[in-house]
Amino acid sequence: MNSTTSFVQLANATSLPWAEVPAWPVAEFVRVTAAALERGGRLCAWFGVPEPMATVGPSKAEGPAISLVAIVASDAENILAVGRSAPFSGKYPALTPLNHQAHLFEREVWEQHGVEPEGHPWLKPVRRTAGTAPAVGEFFRVDGGEIHEVAVGPVHAGVIEPGHFRFQCAGEEVIHLEIALGYQHRGVETAMAGGPHRATLSQMETVAGDSTIAHTTAYATVLETLAGGEAPLRAQWLRAIALELERLASHTGDLGALAGDVAFLPTSAACGKIRGDFLNLSALLCGNRFGRSLVRPGGCGHDLEPARAQQLLSRLETHLADIEQAATWLWDAASVRARFENVGTVFASQATEIGLVGPAARASGLVRDVRYDHPAGWHRFAQAPVAVWSGGDVLARARVRWLEIQRSGQFIREQLASPPDGAVREDLLPAAPETLAVALVEGWRGEVCHVALTDAAGRFRRYKIVDPSFHNWTGLALALRGQAISDFPICNKSFNLSYCGFDL
């Protein structure tokens, strides 16, 4: 291949034969990827595919060989691009110095496959365990007589997931925050190899338990794409409704949690209840409040009869009116605005540089929404306006959530009015061999990315999951720079990232 050849393009929720993915020598591949990102691309995924030893050739054996794969999204052109490196082992020139979106990805590849990105500025494990705790390595330290270090977690005072936060502070001001995760690493990707297995679907439902619909939709879409088809329209319609219900519940919970963190009781108490109401709507769909057992490869596990659809709509209206009241209390309270405004700002330039996704990116003024940029499934026919707010502070992230609550509500209203006919589930054909499939879904936290590569028998040779939290934890660290350490909880809640989705 010569260096002028660019990545091969494909749309969201499509596949292409592995042989058609262009390959470059690894150093060249890093340069081509950097150039693609430079043109406004966004790094959706960057991962290694283990290669059989035979393809490496007679060169020096420095450990197992891999191919690097990059999925780059061009949001403006509504297209994805894929490229890969030729198999190699040992060291390669790092992409991170050229583009910071690759920072965590390269650390992850180094950890999983043992290939070292030369020139990576902060090469340390992402989630690898050493004994009983993650091997988090050295932390970035600020020296000085007035600097003090605050270590929070992994065991927290509330009932939340484990993660370690290391603050370098001068008095109340945070100079630097480093986040160390990995305490929930379960080996989800490793378990996928050779799959799909019997347990795979359950595992996909719990990649991040609060984003069940998003992750299962991505997984089912990958399988359907590999089988050369798609789910029945009615199933796609149901999935889109369930995805918005998931968003409604989570955003409501987040608004309540934000209110709770500044001790604003009215909204905090009301949202706790309304979140439960929205979860119960998911339960109305499929019998489970988190949407387990709804999305199935080839369709949906449950149908929505007209009677239940009517009940869903009428209950939805009640809950939307409730959340409107609770949100009004929040926006009307001057004491709340004083806490949210100009706190934890992530500037649009920073958000672009680190590849932020989801509500956090939209709160920094970036128009980034998979439902709009890379529509697949039902979103090809029905879309909600992208909710964007400029400012990048806690208020903006709260405001984006409120906008999305309103638009999700409206979206469900419209979709319930015009259901497509037909079955909700069809049998899947066997997956195509030696094929790469990509599925992006806009979960409530942001872009959920699943990539599958099949072997000669049509089983998973490599399955890569990128939870939106993987992109966004860096954003939280940036938001904290120069802030009061006492504002960490509201900054953290305004992102509300997943630990288990990151840890996999």
Binding site: D261, V262, F488, P489
Partner: protein, 303 residues
Amino acid sequence: MTITILGFALRLALWLLLAPLLPGLINKVKAWVAGRRGPPVLQLYYDLARLWRKGVVLSTLASPGFIIAPAVAWVALVGAALLLPLGPGGTALSFRGDVLLMIYLLALARFCTVWAAMETGSAFEGMGSVREVSYAVLTEAAIIAAVLSLCVHTGGLSLATILAPAAGAGAALLAGGLFTVLLAENCRVPFDDPNTHLELTMIHEVMVLDHSGPPLAAILHGASVKLLLFSVLLVQAVIPLGDLSPLAAGGALAGGVLVVTIGVGLVESLLARFAFRQVPFLLTLAFLLCLFALLVAWKGGAA
């Protein structure tokens, strides 16, 4: 002699037994506003009984001060409370200048809490101590200005004489100032959030994170005594109980404390807490209110 001892014991019992009621009432008000049922009014009593039966977990780094300091703080707070007259009930111990002793006992209690917090060397507790001490600079100034205005108004120097006739014309100013000080000193919203589990945002709660068992019970009980103390002080500074019959005065005092308690609950229900950088402004406002009360007492008396 027996009557004095009996009266003293009664007063002590009243302070010790009634104090834990206040946080329970505040929580009930908050629950009511939020539409919840809330914990029982007597929850703090249950908590104290439970903590008293528990063992103590001690850091290997902590000196005996870790245990001694909460005990000293508790004694200091109860001592300060006993100096305060209870409306028509008078006071257990009254002498010229006892008001200064009360202020110093409160400061001693604060010193001991900070001392115990620093014992474990935790970064959280260090941050809490820094916040506690820096805000105390402003609240103590407000308390001193408030007490001074009462002294100037009445020309007395003991709590029994300065509190009986209330603050007169400056009562409204003093009420505003002392209520703000009450919220700050007792770690209520908008200064602190007694319900939060977020270590990084706490002031008082974070200082007692490493305490357990009976010392924690002493700290929690001491905090409730302090809340009652400030409520009683506020009510007596504002309502002229000396002019009422003993029965009416007793009722007015109890009613006043109840109103203050409900007021605290309502503030917590309807207001978000402030960012730390804004706290000094509000405390300075409280100080200014008390200072103007002092001016009113001084010039108002001359006019």
